[in-house]
Symmetry: C2
Subunit: 223 residues, 2 copies
């Protein structure tokens, strides 16, 4: 990772590109939509704004998405699916130690909140504007993401690795999981002007904060 | 404090009523606007929705506010001003000990995020929809609120009370202040169904988390 501060213009790693669509037109639509949803919000963005921004006729969007809300939904869903896939892989690769697993989960979520900051912020902010089944699907994905943290915290609480705030059962694990995932995701709200840190510095500091929040009884063993 | 879980319908203490307006009509407008901004967002809410919800003719709102955005701005400004006033009073009353000051700041901000949850969520979410001078004023108020935490953390770092994550200077204090104020404010996003805690339980748990994040070298002395 290069030692330059992260900004909204930092190009995102290839692995964090959304799986959306797959054709170059669909990628252009997705990129334009993220930019517009980020800068003015999904509600204020029209289909015409999106197609104009990528040089298409207004009707062209409907060859790919049934509506603006469907496009927003697919974007937000894919942001969450991608974050969740990486999180599971990272935690699994970390092995059985709860400290290592929590650290891996934090690093993974931060890489998704900080580097592709615009799409992360759109996902975190705009999911509340979705309705009915789409809203429920995203809410379930967010709950699943938090539950990954919760499982790690609960296992570590049960084997004495963590002394969670406010108790040692599932409720304390869920609360701590919520707080840790909130602070990671919230990085997508930063302007970065105030906190010029590289991705690895961010990850290191947030791992430290997460271990403090969890009440880790021993430090992270660097591998 | 009664031992009932906090919900969106928990009546808010008199001291957390917004100072907005002052006449009963202005209070009715403010209450209806908060409810609508909360449930469907400010952008999707019309002046007509607000006046209809409080039994006024559409034009009546303009006797009190120049526009919907002006009403939103006044609401959000007052939410922040009220939170900041209470925060300063709480920190001052806590005396010189950084641990006591941080605990007081956390308790104060949580009482503003949890009890009047709807207005807190409107303020935290919708301020980004404000433009120009209004947006700058709210951003400055939010920065001021965070700086209250930052000052407490920096003082505690300098006298050895806190071992902040990632360093001991103003940057580490600002980062930690941002994280602590974010987790407090984020309580306004909860549905509370998942975390049925009383206000005092919330405060106690979050004080513990804040002291852990700050790396407090000694516990809070209960007075």
């Amino acid at each position: 990772m290069a030692r330059s501060p992260m900004t909204a213009d930092t190009p995102q790693p290839q692995s964090q590109r959304l799986p959306i669509g797959g054709t170059s037109v669909q990628n252009r639509i997705a990129d334009a939509a993220i930019e517009l949803f980020y800068s003015r919000g999904a509600y204020a963005t029209t289909v015409r704004d999106i197609t104009a921004a990528c040089g298409l006729t207004p009707g062209a969007l409907y060859n790919h998405f049934s509506s603006k809300e469907q496009l927003l939904f697919v974007l937000i869903r894919d942001v969450h699916l991608l974050a969740d896939l990486d999180l599971v892989a990272a935690v699994t690769a970390a092995g059985p130690d709860p400290v290592a697993r929590l650290a891996a989960a934090v690093r993974s979520l931060i890489s998704h909140a900080a580097a592709p900051r615009k799409q992360a912020r759109v996902a975190n902010r705009e999911y509340v504007t979705l309705t009915d089944a789409r809203r429920r699907e995203i809410t379930a994905l967010r709950r699943q993401l938090r539950s990954r943290f919760s499982e790690v915290l609960l296992a570590g609480s049960q084997d004495g690795t963590f002394v969670l705030p406010g108790g040692h059962g599932p409720t304390a694990a869920a609360l701590t999981a919520n707080v840790i995932s909130t602070i990671c995701a919230n990085i997508s709200e930063w302007t970065q002007e105030n906190y010029p840190m590289t991705l690895s510095e961010l990850q290191q500091t947030y791992v430290q904060m997460a271990l403090r929040l969890a009440g880790a009884t021993r430090p992270l063993q660097e591998r």
